[in-house]
């Protein structure tokens, strides 16, 4: 839904609809739950003549649809409030706005930063930032790419860093009032205020890897081990708090799909013999060992094939900021979950500074 079509509403009325409908849904769900018990017993007597499951499910579907409508209308009311009433969703006055403006505020629910990255044209990123502020020798910004925000504007992605006592830090791990902050380069670039922030879990890379991508990832896993990244359940255990290093809300289980490393792998014959050793014999070259290796690679290939999707999730915290001169920037933190040799989880945080997989700056949190 989009366009320059004009539209109007009273935000408070839409919110009131959501409240009343929410109450009705709550009562309906309770009634349906009680009804189900008796209806299921009757189904045994009647021999399913009324196809209870089918019609009962339709009533539950109606309850879910009502609940969804309540949430959606409340969201529309809020979008109207932000688009034309200063964000006051209790506004009782009629708010008039373009449908596009309202849609722009409805969209963030679906908006995901990984799908809105782009590289910068030569010099574009530097021009977007104040050139005097991106480098102080021992502090500055890394970057190069952009993220197109929910409002349609392109924000330069920045990865701040400062050097303290010879140690480089890229982010704060909690700040007490008045303390120096990595994000403003220890006071060298102050005055940034957050205009929008979103925290969530996303799948990075393309939406759904196709067969060839999965196959290639599978092939890659045979030489590089488990693909980089985390599963959704891994990252959902993370607890992200703005301005702090991530912590685990619950310790995630080691992924069952992660293959245990083989105790020993027989080396196969490389495509080129080592210099001055043309007659080297590789145990993996004989038929029996070759067969064993083929099985091993088959297992790894299958693991990589399926994990090419499972291992592409990350938690993220993206902040859009603006300063007094009207300049904008985005700080896009992504957090992956890994497992050490003991099977214990750890979190790796990076600043994302562009659309490529290696457009990352590993974060060392300042204490």
């Amino acid at each position: 839904m989009s366009g320059e079509t004009g539209c109007s509403a009273r935000p408070a009325d839409l919110v009131e609809y959501a409240r009343e409908t929410g109450d009705a849904v709550w009562q309906l769900r309770g009634a349906l739950h009680d009804f189900d018990i008796a209806a299921e017993a009757y189904e045994l007597i009647s021999g399913g003549i009324f196809r209870l499951a089918r019609y009962g499910d339709a009533l539950w579907d109606a309850a879910f649809e009502l609940e969804d409508m309540a949430g959606w209308v409340a969201h529309v009311g809020w979008a109207f409030a932000v688009a034309g009433a200063g964000g006051d969703s209790t506004a009782t006055a009629v708010v008039t706005a373009s449908a596009m403006a309202v849609d722009a505020w409805l969209e963030p629910v679906e908006w995901s930063p990984a799908k809105h990255l782009r590289s910068g044209a030569p010099g574009e990123w530097l021009r977007a930032l104040d050139p005097t502020c991106h480098g102080f020798g021992d502090a500055g910004y890394s970057g190069g790419g952009f993220v197109v925000g929910p409002d349609g504007r392109a924000y330069p992605l920045v990865a701040p860093y400062v050097t303290r006592d010879g140690v480089v830090y890229q982010a704060d791990d909690g700040l007490v009032p008045g303390a120096r902050s990595v994000l403003d380069l220890d006071g060298r670039d102050p005055g940034w205020t957050t205009i929008y922030e979103k925290i969530g879990v996303e799948r990075w890379g393309s939406d759904a890897p196709n067969l060839m991508t999965r196959l290639l990832t599978g092939i890659g896993s045979t030489v590089a081990g488990r693909p980089n990244g985390s599963s959704r359940s891994d990252v959902e255990a993370l607890h992200l708090v703005p301005g702090m290093a991530p912590t685990f809300g619950a310790v995630p289980d080691r992924p069952a799909t992660e293959p245990a490393p083989p105790p020993y792998m027989q080396p196969s014959e490389p495509p080129y013999s080592p210099p001055a050793q043309p007659d080297t014999v590789y145990p993996g070259s004989n038929s029996q060992a070759g067969k064993a290796n083929a099985v091993s690679e088959g297992v790894d290939l299958a693991g990589g094939f399926f994990m090419s999707d499972l291992g592409r999730h990350a938690a993220y915290d993206i902040t859009f900021q603006q300063n007094a001169t009207g300049q904008v920037r985005a700080l896009y933190k992504r957090v992956y979950v890994g497992f050490d040799d003991a099977g214990d989880p750890y979190a790796d945080s990076v600043w994302v500074i562009g659309p490529e997989n290696n457009d990352h700056v590993l974060i060392n949190y300042a204490p």
Binding site: M1, R10, E20, F35, A41, Y42, A99
Partner: protein, 73 residues
């Protein structure tokens, strides 16, 4: 029979929900215009129809249960 009582409890609840939803929509509708309102009206009609069909089904179920009870007596 338990299912008859269950139908008797559910039916007024369904009628209440239909009426409550109608009332809530009447609160939202004044001065609401544009494509979001149009989408709302489409969804409103569909969900009210589904709830109405649910009432019909519960009535039929109750009728069937009463008939079975009478036949067994």
């Amino acid at each position: 029979m338990e299912v008859i009582d269950a139908c008797d409890r559910l039916l007024p609840r369904l009628f209440d929900v239909i009426a409550q939803h109608e009332h809530a929509a009447a609160v939202a509708r004044p001065d609401w215009s544009g494509p979001h309102h149009d989408e709302f009206e489409e969804r409103f009609v569909a969900v009210q129809r589904a709830l109405g069909q649910g009432c019909t089904w519960v009535l039929r179920l109750r009728h069937d249960a009463v008939a079975r009870l009478e036949a067994a007596a």
